[in-house]
């Protein structure tokens, strides 16, 4: 094949001990009776006017070195000589509510459009907080984030710039902290990288701490908002109870009657007693009327007693109903207040129960950040993944080189 012509200054002769190919291209002659030229066959051909085959092969090698090996070598030197080690500390936690075990909805449930499970959403809120500028500011106060990212151990390319604005710090922080929520188990995995093992561990610990603090704030707010309404209705009920109580006492005082119900019952009993007395007296009088003369003193006395008892009964009945001071109207007022009092008491009971259930529900909805794996103290630098990067670069370049070679050969065929 023909080499890609190079400027004489670009000759890389330290890699391959070979006389540099002449900068002008070997003339690729097209032979009309052989049909189209095939690179593969042409490769073995010794072209008239061209250099010897081994020479051409070396030229091919030189191109390979130039486009694949040299960049790979440069990347390798950069990775192993310049880029600093980074240590990763990992911690796992799960966000749970007291009410449930925290198992997430299955993928099938999501497929059928069922509600996503609440704890997954809660984990997501915590994750969102951990990657926010808010968390960065808090970490800056607690563990000194900027200083951590500007350690002297870090190389110039991967350290945070001096006087970086907050936005840059946030972006940098997000590259160093990797938070992912496991979709099915709801376990959140936090991986923190730092230029020192201790840094990574401290940062991971600090992240857990601020996460816990944020969760507790959520809980406090939830409890307050839940209980506020219930407390209000309880206070209203209490006020109602004390109002009716006061009204009742007022009534008792104004009627000079400690217990209108008992009083009225006693009065009614008295009236019935009197009525039975009256009936007896009348019966006796009637019996006398048959035995003695009406003007006999016995009869007169008995008749007088009957009249007296009749008067008594009349007075007593009048006191039960008749006038404003009578027992019936007093009892009516009293019973109205008594009914209101019972209502207020029931409302009070209901409000107390509602407050209890609200508190219970809030407690059941409380989130807990449960640590599953404590942050480890890294001993070996896991980052940067040098071999992986170098391998990736090498194979990508090799593929690209091969493809480019084939495509260029195709292009050259057109100019035959």
């Amino acid at each position: 094949m023909a080499t890609i012509p190079l400027h004489p200054t670009e000759h890389e002769t330290d890699l391959i001990e070979a006389p540099a190919a002449p900068p002008d291209e070997p003339a690729l002659r097209f032979n009309p009776e052989r049909g189209p030229v095939h690179e593969l066959r042409q490769f073995e051909q010794n072209l008239p006017g061209g250099p010897e085959p081994w020479h051409r092969r070396l030229a091919w090698l030189r191109n390979l070195a130039l486009f694949v090996l040299l960049p790979t070598l440069a990347v390798a030197i950069f990775e192993y000589g310049v880029v600093a080690n980074q240590y990763e500390s990992e911690t796992h936690f799960v966000i749970r509510t007291a009410g449930q075990s925290g198992s997430a909805g299955s993928g099938l449930g999501q497929l059928l459009g069922l509600d996503p499970n609440p704890t997954a959403a809660d984990s997501q809120t915590v994750v969102d907080y951990l990657l926010s500028h808010d968390a960065v500011a808090s970490l800056e106060r607690s563990v000194g984030l900027r200083a951590m990212f500007r350690r002297p151990d870090a190389d110039i390319f991967s350290r945070l710039a001096d006087n970086a604005p907050p936005e840059t710090l946030l972006r940098y922080y997000r590259t160093m902290v990797d938070v992912e929520v496991g979709r099915d188990a709801g376990i959140t995995r936090v991986a923190v990288r730092g230029f020192r093992g201790a840094d990574a561990q401290r940062l991971a610990e600090a992240l857990l701490v601020i996460g816990e603090r944020r969760v507790n704030e959520f809980n406090k707010r939830l409890l307050e908002s839940r209980l506020a309404a219930a407390r209000e209705s309880l206070q209203a009920a209490e006020a109602g109870v004390s109002d009716t109580q006061a009204a009742l006492s007022g009534l008792r005082e104004s009627a000079r009657d400690a217990d209108p119900e008992r009083t009225s019952a006693a009065r009614i009993a008295m009236v019935t007693q009197m009525q039975s007395d009256l009936a007896q007296a009348r019966a006796r009088l009637a019996g006398m009327a048959a035995a003695v003369r009406p003007d006999s003193p016995q009869y007169v006395a008995q008749a007088a007693q009957v009249r007296a008892i009749e008067q008594q009964v009349g007075a007593a009945q009048a006191s039960l109903t008749g006038s404003a001071q009578a027992t019936a109207s007093g009892l009516g007022r009293f019973e109205g207040i008594r009914f209101r009092q019972e209502l207020a008491a029931k409302r009070y009971e209901a409000a107390t129960a509602a407050l209890d259930t609200a508190r219970e529900q809030a407690l059941r909805q409380q989130l807990y950040l449960v640590r599953i794996v404590e942050p480890n103290a890294p001993g070996k630098a896991l980052y940067p993944k040098r071999m992986k990067l170098i391998g990736t670069v090498f194979f990508a370049l090799l593929l690209a080189y091969a493809i480019g070679w084939l495509i260029l050969a195709g292009v050259r065929e057109h100019a035959a």
Partner: protein, 260 residues
């Protein structure tokens, strides 16, 4: 170097001529002519979108079914047509190989470019229509979406070359191409996001480059789609490796094509 420029010039001319020839043989001058280029994919995509038009947005807030179906189907159509046209490319264009400057690569590239252009046009027109009719369809990040489209074009072309070679060598393989492409449609993520798939299958599917390309495309199309399931390095390696395989395979085929 001058030789390469000349070669490029000639190749550009050849590609242009091949595209024109392709247009002419495929659509001709009767009825609406070249407009079929746009109308053909549109008719297919509209019929698919009509099936999904009645659904409500599921998942994210802006995940409207019509643009979802349109985007997915247009992308898949690109894949399908590039592959199936590659299978017949040699059959219909074999005489052209008499000309020294026409290569198999040119034929495949011309067909691919034609498909890419027509599908992209159809996609743009259809999404605009969908948006105008109130079904939603403004892409959240057009560049990401185009990146997905570009990967699909590259992947299809890279796969088309070995398919073209294999179907030249064995007629049986050519018969299998169509069913295989049809099987690829339900599993390729044309009409779903990997998020919706339950776990054991999701992990398996996320290794398929087609699924990853669709994830990339949908992530560009809808703001509410945040997909962790595509990896550009992985995709690029797939495409690079397939391209190399394809270029070598059409080179081998060229040696075996005898013009009588």
């Amino acid at each position: 170097m001058a030789r390469y420029f000349r070669g490029l010039e000639v190749q550009g001319a050849v590609l242009g001529a091949l595209i024109l020839r392709e247009l002419h043989t495929r659509y001709g001058r009767e009825n609406i002519g070249y407009a079929w280029l746009l109308v053909e994919p549109m008719l297919l995509a509209i019929s698919v979108a009509a099936l999904h038009g009645a659904e409500k947005p599921h998942g994210g807030s802006d995940l409207y079914p019509v643009p979802f179906a349109l985007g997915g189907y247009c992308m898949f159509m690109l894949f399908r047509s590039v592959i199936s046209r590659a299978e017949t490319a040699l059959e219909s264009n074999k005489p052209l190989l008499f000309h020294r400057m026409v290569t198999i690569f040119d034929m495949l590239a011309a067909r691919m470019l034609l498909e890419v252009a027509s599908t992209l046009l159809a996609l743009i027109v259809l999404l605009s229509l969908s948006w105008a009719l109130g079904f939603g369809g403004v892409p959240a990040s057009p560049l990401t979406m185009l990146a997905g489209f570009g990967y699909m074009a590259w992947f299809s072309f890279a796969l088309a070359m070995p398919v073209c070679a294999a179907s030249y060598f064995s007629k049986a393989f050519g018969k299998f191409v169509h069913p295989l492409v049809y099987i690829a449609m339900p599993i390729s993520g044309t009409f779903f996001l990997l998020e919706w798939i339950p776990e054991p299958y999701r992990g398996m599917l996320s290794w398929f480059p087609l699924n990853q390309i669709f994830e990339l495309f949908h992530a560009g199309q809808f703001a509410s789609v945040r997909s962790p399931y595509f990896d550009l390095t992985y995709l690029s390696f797939w495409c690079l490796a397939l391209s190399l395989l394809g270029l070598i395979s059409i080179r081998i085929v060229r040696k075996h094509v005898h013009l009588s």
